[in-house]
C-alpha cells in the first residue's frame, strides 16, 4: 500500500500497455521504457508485467504504512528515506512500516520507474493498468496521482531476495538514431538538410503524446498526406515545419508526412529527454536497425 503525501509533476501508474487495440484508435501506450519497469519488477519479485509508477522530472512523497519492498530504475532523482537509509537505484529496497520515500528532482534525464512488491492493484481497463491521460482512462482513476491518493498492492508469497540490476548504458550525448521515414520524398533539399544536419531543442510543450522540437524549419515540397498508421518514435512534420517526435501516448494514425523514425533501440533514450535538451539525428540503415539486439538488464544477488 502507498499513501501519496505529495504529488510529483506527473506520477502515473503504468504497465506494459494495451497492444492489439490500434483499430479502435487506442495506442499500446504503457511504460516509456518497458525494459526498465520490467527490471524494477524483477528486483522486487514481481512478474515483469506488473504495474508500477512512472515518475517524470519531479517526484512524489510516498508513505508506506505497512512497509514494502520497492525498486527504482531509470533516471536518478534526488531522493531521501525517513529512515535515513540511502536510496539506491537498481536495487531491492526494504522499507519499514510507516517509512516515507521522498523523490525530488531528476538529477539527469527525465523519467524513473518505481515497482512495489505485489504490483499496484488498479483496475484493468481494456486489458491494461496503464494510465492514458489523453483520454483520461486506466491507471489510478484515469489521472496522475494527487496528494491523499492511496494505492493498493496485491499480496505476494515467497521470500524477499535482495537483488541488483546491471543497467544498460545510455550514451546521453549521442544523436538519436533514425531510419528514413516513408514520406522522406515529400521534403525539399533544404528541409532534408535542416532536419538531418540540424540541432534541435526539446520544447516545453512536450509530453508522452509527442516531443515538440524547436530548431531549423523542415520545409516540405508537399505537406498533405492520406492518414496512415504511425508508431511512437515517428517524426511528423506539420505544415509549419516544426517536427514532432510521436511519443507513447501519441495517435495511432497521422496525416502529416513522416520524415524519419527513431529506432526501437533508442526509444529508451527518447524517454529520458527533457525540455531544453539538445537533439540531433543520425540515420542508420533499416537492416542494421532491425538487427540491433535488445539491451539486457542483468539481475544478480546482492552480496
Amino acid at each position: 500500500m502507498i499513501e501519496v503525501l505529495r504529488a510529483g509533476l506527473c506520477d502515473r501508474v503504468m504497465d506494459q500497455g494495451r497492444p492489439g487495440r490500434g483499430a479502435l484508435g487506442v495506442p499500446v501506450g504503457g511504460v516509456a521504457d518497458p525494459a526498465a519497469l520490467a527490471a524494477a519488477n524483477r528486483l522486487v519479485g514481481n512478474d515483469a508485467a506488473a504495474a508500477g509508477l512512472e515518475i517524470t522530472l519531479k517526484g512524489p512523497g510516498l508513505r508506506f504504512p505497512l512497509g514494502g519492498v520497492v525498486a527504482l530504475t531509470g533516471a536518478r532523482f534526488a531522493a531521501t528515506r525517513s529512515s535515513g537509509a540511502s536510496v539506491v537505484w537498481g536495487e531491492t529496497l526494504v522499507l519499514a512500516a510507516g517509512e516515507t520515500l521522498n523523490l525530488e528532482r531528476a538529477e539527469a534525464g527525465s523519467r524513473c520507474w518505481l515497482a512495489l512488491r505485489g504490483g499496484l492493484a488498479v483496475p484493468l481497463v481494456m486489458g491494461s493498468r496503464s494510465t492514458f491521460l489523453p483520454a483520461g482512462f486506466g491507471g489510478y482513476r484515469g489521472r496522475a496521482l494527487r496528494a491523499g491518493d492511496v494505492l493498493a498492492s496485491s499480496a505476494t508469497a515467497g521470500a524477499v531476495r535482495l537483488l541488483r540490476a546491471r543497467v544498460p548504458a545510455i550514451e546521453r550525448d549521442a544523436p538519436l538514431r533514425v531510419v528514413a521515414g516513408p514520406q522522406v520524398g515529400q521534403f525539399d533539399d533544404a528541409g532534408l538538410l535542416a532536419f538531418f544536419a540540424g540541432n534541435y531543442r526539446v520544447e516545453a510543450a512536450s509530453d508522452r503524446r509527442g516531443l515538440r522540437l524547436g530548431g531549423p524549419a523542415v520545409t516540405h515540397a508537399r505537406a498533405e498526406l492520406p492518414s496512415q498508421g504511425v508508431l511512437p518514435g515517428a517524426v511528423q512534420v506539420p505544415p509549419d515545419g516544426r517536427p514532432i517526435v510521436l511519443g507513447w501516448d501519441g495517435p495511432v494514425t497521422g496525416g502529416y508526412p513522416v520524415i524519419a523514425g527513431v529506432i526501437a533501440a533508442d526509444m529508451a533514450k527518447l524517454a529520458q529527454l527533457r525540455p531544453g535538451d539538445a537533439v540531433r539525428f543520425a540515420t542508420i540503415e533499416l537492416e542494421r536497425a532491425r538487427s540491433l539486439a535488445t539491451e539486457q538488464w542483468e539481475i544478480e544477488e546482492l552480496t
Binding site: 497492444p19 484508435g25 503524446r209 496512415q228 506539420p238 496525416g255 533499416l286
Partner: protein
C-alpha cells in the same frame, strides 16, 4: 528483409518496411477485409495492426520479422466482405458559433452561406473508414468534394471533446479534448468513446453516420 513493391491487387497486396518495427501493406478497397483476416490469426510476432486510408500498418514486436505464416496470410485470397454491422448512427450537431469556430471561413471558401454549408455537410450518409488519431476517432468517408479542406497549418493545442471537424477529404468527431489540427465546424454531445463500455467505440469501421443539425 524483403520489400514487395508489386502493384497492389486483391490477391496480392504490396508491402514495405517503413520503420524498424513497422510494415505498410497496400490494401486499397480491401483494407477492412484483410484486417479481419490477419487479426483473427493472432500471430505472435505482431503487436498490433492499424487500418488506415487504403493500407494496413503492421507493428512487429521488437526483433520479430516477417514469418512464413504472415507472408502466406498477406497473399492469401480474401473470401467475402468483413463482418461489420453497418449500423446507422444519427448524431445531433450544433453547427457554427462557439461550437464551430472555423465554419464561417470554410463556408466562404466553399462559396456557400452558413446554412447551405451546414445542409451540404448534413445531407450525406457517411461511412466509417477507420478509427485513429484518438481512441474512437472516426474517419468518415463521403464528404462532398466542395467541403474538402486542408488541416490547419499549426494544430490547436486544445480542441473540445465532441467537436465535429473536417481534415482533408474526411469529416470526423473528436472523442476527447486535446490538441488537434482539423477545422472545427460544430459540436455533438454524443459519447463517442467510453473505455468502460463493452464496445468502447460508438462508431466502428463499416458503420454509417448521418449528422442532424440541432
Amino acid at each position: 528483409m524483403e520489400n514487395d513493391t508489386r502493384a497492389p491487387s486483391q490477391s496480392h497486396p504490396a508491402w514495405r518496411w517503413i520503420s524498424d518495427r513497422g510494415l505498410r501493406v497496400e490494401t486499397g478497397d480491401t483494407t477492412l477485409t484483410r484486417y479481419a483476416a490477419l487479426i483473427s490469426l493472432n500471430l505472435p510476432e505482431i503487436e498490433d495492426i492499424i487500418p488506415a486510408d487504403g493500407c494496413l500498418f503492421l507493428i512487429f514486436r521488437r526483433g520479430a520479422g516477417l514469418s512464413e505464416n504472415l507472408r502466406s496470410a498477406l497473399i492469401a485470397p480474401l473470401a467475402g466482405k468483413p463482418a461489420t454491422s453497418g449500423t446507422l448512427h444519427e448524431i445531433a450537431v450544433e453547427y457554427g458559433g462557439v461550437a464551430g469556430p472555423d465554419l464561417p471561413a470554410l463556408a466562404e471558401r466553399a462559396g456557400l452561406d452558413a446554412a447551405a454549408y451546414i445542409n451540404s455537410h448534413a445531407a450525406v450518409e457517411y461511412s466509417v473508414a477507420f478509427l485513429g488519431f484518438q481512441p474512437g476517432f472516426p474517419y468518415l468517408h463521403g464528404l462532398p468534394c466542395a467541403l474538402h479542406v486542408p488541416r490547419r497549418a499549426s494544430p490547436r493545442l486544445r480542441v473540445a471533446a465532441g467537436s465535429v471537424a473536417i481534415g482533408g477529404g474526411y469529416t470526423g468527431i473528436y472523442p476527447a479534448s486535446g490538441p488537434g489540427g482539423w477545422q472545427i465546424i460544430g459540436h455533438t454531445t454524443a459519447v463517442i468513446f467510453d473505455p468502460q463500455r463493452e464496445a468502447p467505440a460508438l462508431l466502428m469501421p463499416g458503420d454509417r453516420v448521418r449528422f442532424v443539425p440541432r
